[in-house]
């Protein structure tokens, strides 16, 4: 038949079927030849039979078999060695069955891959390889893969551990988790990921569906490494995302996109940090019930995830800020700003979990556990905020106009400060030894000199930045470098150092690029600062006998001292360095005083006549070094706002005194050195790494670590009941905690009451005395040891700290630093009758017989009678930063810390024989604090190191 013929046939057919059977014959006879008529009649015959034919769509014909295929396996069937018990859930990655392994009499979960995967051989091969890698993972928090195999009809299957429990998704749907519970779950997920990442396996699909919660508390993570075989993750790239961006699909396929990291969404290569992101999302969801990027539709979610703006977290009341910080950091959009390893995240999770387990709001420096210089998204945002107003600054706008406008600007805003420098920066770490002590950059910005500690000795190094080569300028010696300054012409390095056995600083000059140090001047106690022309320098001299601090000027050769300004009676100049104004007429230095606590501010001193002026109104707790950005009219200082906050870099405009932050991190930046062009700052960054150990009988071999990150401890003591009390950062303040070394339980005893430190329990264990600045001035307080209740103020002056109970519990000894000379006092436990015991003493401790006080005294240790008077004995025990001696049980000896080659140990000084003996044999780390238990059977100590490196910060205006 031809199409033309068929056309005829069907037209006839169409006409005929409209007719009654009797009419049809006549119609056909009239309109067709025989052959045509035969065709039409055959068709009509078929038509009579075809009323229901094909009226049900084709899919019905195969629906039955379609359905039966999707229920392919039923109970009792075998797949390999496994006997199917029942289907668990359809969809997903093929079918999932509960099965039994008769050989081991255990249940397993069997996953059959979708049939359509089987057609792609390359895919199957890659899949099998990845599944094998994942099956090699052996961790209690990872679901075990037993076998990867093929069914008899060629379908791939995975046999895996059967976990009795429910998914995290099911759990969240019923009930939100408390922050502590969420941390417990997340910590186990992080542990699983740590093990996986260590073998190079990235999960890629961390979400509540892939986390099983077992009744016994175990958390198991499923489907390691399989995610990349999902079409979604292959196609959910930015390009596709863009094409569907205009679509709205309420409620559909929101799925995995909620947990995907920005780089995953963009289809870029992913690493372990994508899991860190996803875990952050899960953390948020566990406590809030929603993912942070939940939106009306998928595309809005994608936009939120990719968008550079701040993360729109919605936190419930009661989620501690530290929890939020962890999540925010895990979900920093640039992966460089996230936790860099899952282990870091795990550490923070556990730390906070431990704290929340006892009491919420208890924070230590848990978020500082990681190292490295980062700009997190908050910080980036802050930088943006700080930089954008600058562009709107009147003078900037005006100067963009023509000359007249500039003249007007100069006329009307002659004092306006220029735009703040270093508001957008790039930071490079120049060293990685962790042992830097001091650093400076040459005026031309081409060299950096820094000292490092090597086996307890200090070495002075010079680094050429262009060639990145470092040479030894002054070999290892026992000298301690206090300051490093390049001469303005770059020909010399001026170093201030303290030689062994002396506490006075001496200035030396070293010719560059290398030469023997030549002694230039005594009585220089910190870094010097050169005048712009280099013919003079300024420095601060501290005279121990009188307690006087003097800001001085000298000629470059060290001759002709002149005192510009002095501080006495407890007031000070910073020993860490001053800075000259570009015109050479003024010197800016930091000065401090006691006035409702200790404060420092910047003072400018006229070189000609020593006239002083306070620069700006801002005060800090402490200011160390000052650098002058000559061309910009700004100073850079290293300063801390409170005793407890880290030294950070700040910009201060000159002469207005306007203040901006330059750094905003958890490191200590203690030095400032600027290049002449004002575009580079060299500083140091220090991080304290400390752990709390318990050593039975002081035996280091039995020492056990009981807390890994309690931050810097300010005062450590045992209670009678075998608990520890110490002070460490919690929230934004130092707070006192009681810590049970057995259980790890930590209870915060002070809260929202300023800084609290130096806790010392009473002999009966009922009370704790401590120092607190809660009223603004620093005084001695007492509180109940059990819960911190009934705080009671014992002293009412300022600068009082280091309290200790007498052995009869009747009085408290403490020291005072607010006067020109430090003093030791005692006060009755009811706060009455304060009595001075001795001048020049610090950090008293009472002997077991309650008769004597041992204390720091004029650079060594002295023993005095509790009634006062001159020392009855003086001991050549070195006084270091945190040295506080302790009595032995028999009162016959004192113990103290000695640090040799960078390793601290505890020694014993026998008061009868005047002999010393080493008690512990730790082979690494410093000891920052230690305490003997009341029965002297346990030694608690905080050991660790300060990791300090040199950094270079470049202005990126």
């Amino acid at each position: 038949m031809t199409p033309e013929r068929w056309r005829q046939v069907k037209d006839l057919f169409a006409s005929v079927v409209e007719l009654t059977p009797s009419q049809r014959a006549a119609f056909l006879a009239q309109n067709c030849d025989d052959e045509l008529r035969g065709e039409v009649e055959a068709l009509i015959a078929a038509d009579d039979l075809s009323h229901s034919f094909m009226e049900t769509p084709a899919v019905a014909a195969v629906a039955k078999s379609l359905v039966s295929e999707s229920l392919e396996l039923s109970a009792g069937q075998f797949i390999g060695p496994y006997e199917i018990v029942k289907a668990l859930r359809g969809g997903g990655m093929g079918e999932v069955y509960l099965a039994r392994d008769p050989r081991l009499e255990r249940f397993i979960v069997l996953k059959l891959l979708p049939a359509y995967f089987a057609k792609d051989e390359q895919f199957v091969r890659r899949f099998a390889q990845e599944a094998r890698t994942a099956s090699a993972l052996n961790h209690p928090n990872i679901c075990v893969i037993y076998e990867i195999g093929k069914t008899t009809d060629g379908r791939d299957f995975i046999a895996m551990e059967h976990i009795a429990g429910r998914t995290l998704r099911e759990h969240i749907a019923q009930q939100l988790l408390l922050p502590a519970e969420a941390l417990r779950v997340a910590a186990q997920i992080a542990d699983a990921l740590t093990a996986a990442h260590a073998t190079g396996v990235v999960h890629r699909d961390i979400k509540p569906e892939n986390v099983m919660l077992r009744a016994d508390g175990y958390v198991k993570v499923l489907d390691f490494g399989l995610a990349k075989f999902q079409p979604r993750s292959e196609h959910e790239s930015i390009n596709e995302a863009r094409t569907v961006l205009h679509l709205t699909e309420p409620g559909t396929a929101m799925g995995t996109v909620q947990y995907m990291s920005p780089e995953q969404l963009c289809g870029r290569s992913v690493d372990g940090r994508t899991d860190i992101w996803s875990l952050g999302v899960v953390l948020h969801e566990m406590v809030t019930g929603r993912t942070p990027f939940a939106a009306a539709n998928k595309n809005e979610s994608i936009a939120l995830i990719l968008d550079g703006g701040p993360i729109p977290f919605a936190w419930h009341v009661g989620v501690p800020p530290e929890f939020q910080q962890i999540v925010a950091r895990a979900m920093s959009k640039p992966k460089e700003a996230r936790y860099q390893t899952i282990a870091e995240l795990a550490a923070d999770l556990k730390q906070l979990q431990g704290l929340l387990g006892v009491k919420s709001g208890m924070v230590t420096e848990i978020l500082s556990s990681s190292q490295g210089v980062r700009v997190d998204s908050d910080q980036a945002t802050r930088l943006q905020r700080l930089t954008s107003p600058v562009r709107k600054h009147p003078i900037v706008l005006v100067s963009a106009l023509a000359g007249l406008a500039i003249i007007l600007a100069v006329l009307f805003f002659p004092r306006a400060s220029s735009s703040p420098p270093f508001q957008a920066v790039s930071t490079a770490q120049l060293t990685n030894s962790g042992r830097a002590v001091s650093a400076a950059i040459s005026p031309d910005g081409k060299f950096v000199a820094h000292a490092i500690v090597e086996k307890g000795l200090q070495v002075l190094l010079l680094t050429g930045l262009a060639t990145n080569t470092t040479s030894i300028l002054v070999p290892a010696s026992e000298a301690e470098y206090l300051g490093i300054t390049f001469s303005p012409d770059g020909n010399y390095l001026y170093v201030t150092r303290r030689n062994p056995g002396s506490d006075a600083g001496i200035l030396y000059r070293v010719a560059l690029p290398g030469g023997a140090p030549v002694k230039l001047k005594d009585g220089v106690d910190g870094p010097i600062a050169f005048s712009p022309q280099g013919e003079r320098f300024s420095f601060v001299r501290f005279t121990r006998a009188s307690g006087e601090y003097a800001l001085m000027v000298s000629r470059a050769d060290g001759s002709e001292d002149r005192t510009l300004a002095t501080r006495n009676n407890g007031q000070r100049f910073s020993l860490y360095g001053s800075a000259w104004s570009p015109d050479g007429e003024k010197i800016v230095c930091a000065a401090g005083r006691w006035d409702k606590g200790y404060h420092m501010n910047l003072v400018e001193v006229r070189v000609a006549d020593g006239q002083e002026r306070t620069l700006g109104t801002r005060q800090w707790f402490s200011i160390l070094q000052v650098g002058w950005l000559a061309e910009k009219g700004w100073l850079i200082i290293s300063a801390r706002e409170q005793w407890t906050s880290p030294y950070q870099l700040w910009g201060v405009s000159y002469p207005q005194g306007e203040v901006v932050r330059v750094s905003n991190d958890t490191f200590e930046h203690e030095s400032v050195s600027v290049a002449r062009d004002g575009k580079v700052i060299v500083s140091t960054q220090k991080q304290h790494v400390g752990r709390l150990w318990i050593a039975p009988d002081g035996d280091d071999r039995q020492a056990k670590m009981v807390a890994s990150n309690v931050g810097r401890i300010y005062g450590l003591n045992w209670t009678r009941a075998g608990k520890l009390v110490f002070s460490s950062m919690a929230g934004n303040n130092l707070n006192i905690s009681r810590f049970d070394p057995e259980s790890g339980e930590q209870i915060q005893l002070t809260v929202n009451a300023g800084d609290n430190y130096n806790p010392a329990p009473s002999p009966d264990g009922e009370h704790i005395v401590f120092a607190s600045n809660r009223t603004g001035s620093l005084n001695i307080w007492r509180m109940n040891a059990f819960d911190g209740s009934e705080p009671r103020q014992l002293t009412f002056s300022d600068g009082n700290s280091y309290p200790v109970y007498s052995k009869d519990g009747e009085w408290v000894a403490y020291d005072n630093q607010s006067a020109p000379t430090t003093t030791i006092w005692k006060v009755a436990i009811d706060g009455s009758a304060p009595l001075k015991i001795i001048d020049n003493g610090r950090m008293p401790v009472v002997s077991p017989d309650n008769q004597f006080i041992a204390c720091r005294y004029r650079g060594e240790i002295a023993i005095v009678l509790v009634q006062g008077g001159e020392p009855v004995k003086r001991l050549p025990i070195p006084v270091m930063d945190w040295q506080q001696v302790q009595w032995t049980a028999d009162g016959r000896a004192l113990t103290y810390i000695t640090t040799i080659d960078g390793t601290s140990n505890i020694w014993r000084y026998d008061l009868v024989t005047d002999s010393t003996k080493q008690l512990t044999a730790f082979s690494a780390d410093n000891i920052f604090a230690y305490a003997w238990s009341t029965d002297y059977k346990q030694l608690a100590c905080q050991r660790g190191t300060d990791v300090t490196d040199v950094i270079m910060i470049r202005d990126q205006p």
């Binding site: 009509i44 769509p57 899919v59 195969v62 359905v67 999707s70 969809g91």
Partner: protein, 193 residues
């Protein structure tokens, strides 16, 4: 395993309509799987077999799989036409394999359904044979074969088919009736012979 996303399927459909046969290779298993899933869902939800809304099933499968708005189809009708061709390929393939299984037998074969339940009309149709007949019909009458694809394989109503083909419903009805008769006759030919 996540659901294949609509835009993936849509893109593949588009590629296929542009002549990319590898797109079809990827497309068929996804759509096929989705169909199976849908069928299973219906079985669970609506126990009586006869109430299985096959048309709805197909529609739903498509709605889930194909993002009709995202692709720059020449027009909506083009899209439906392509979809119908795809369904035809899938269902016929399935029928062929299913027959092969029946003939060869396998330990995976199972009868989950109650044999006592009535089977819908059309279950007897040999889709493979129908497919061949439809090929022949297309040589005679392209439009008619399109009507069959849309009505039978894609499950469209007369009205929808008319819209897709841009003809009157009357034409669709007429073509459909003729095609049915012709195809039934073709399929009966072997038996009669």
């Amino acid at each position: 395993m996540a659901d294949p996303t609509p835009h993936v399927v849509t893109q593949l459909l588009h590629d296929w309509s542009q002549g990319d046969e590898t797109a079809l290779e990827k497309l068929i298993p996804i759509v096929y799987d989705e169909l199976r899933r849908q069928a299973a869902n219906y079985m669970r939800r609506e126990r009586p077999w006869q109430s299985l809304q096959t048309t709805a099933l197909v529609h739903e499968a498509y709605l889930r799989l194909v993002d009709q708005r995202a692709v720059e189809w020449q027009n909506r009708n083009h899209f439906f036409a392509i979809s119908a061709s795809l369904m035809r390929r899938i269902l016929v393939d399935h029928a062929r394999q299913h027959q092969a299984v029946k003939r060869g037998g396998t330990d995976l074969k199972l009868l989950a359904l109650d044999d006592a339940e009535p089977t819908p009309v059309g279950d007897d149709i040999d889709l493979a044979a129908l497919d061949q007949a439809l090929e022949r019909l297309a040589l005679l009458d392209e439009q008619q074969s399109r009507v069959v694809e849309l009505r039978f394989f894609s499950g469209l109503s007369v009205e929808e088919t008319a819209e897709v083909l841009n003809v009157s419903t009357r034409t669709v009805k007429r073509e459909w009736r003729a095609a049915k008769a012709w195809l039934l006759r073709e399929l009966s030919r072997g038996e009669l012979a």
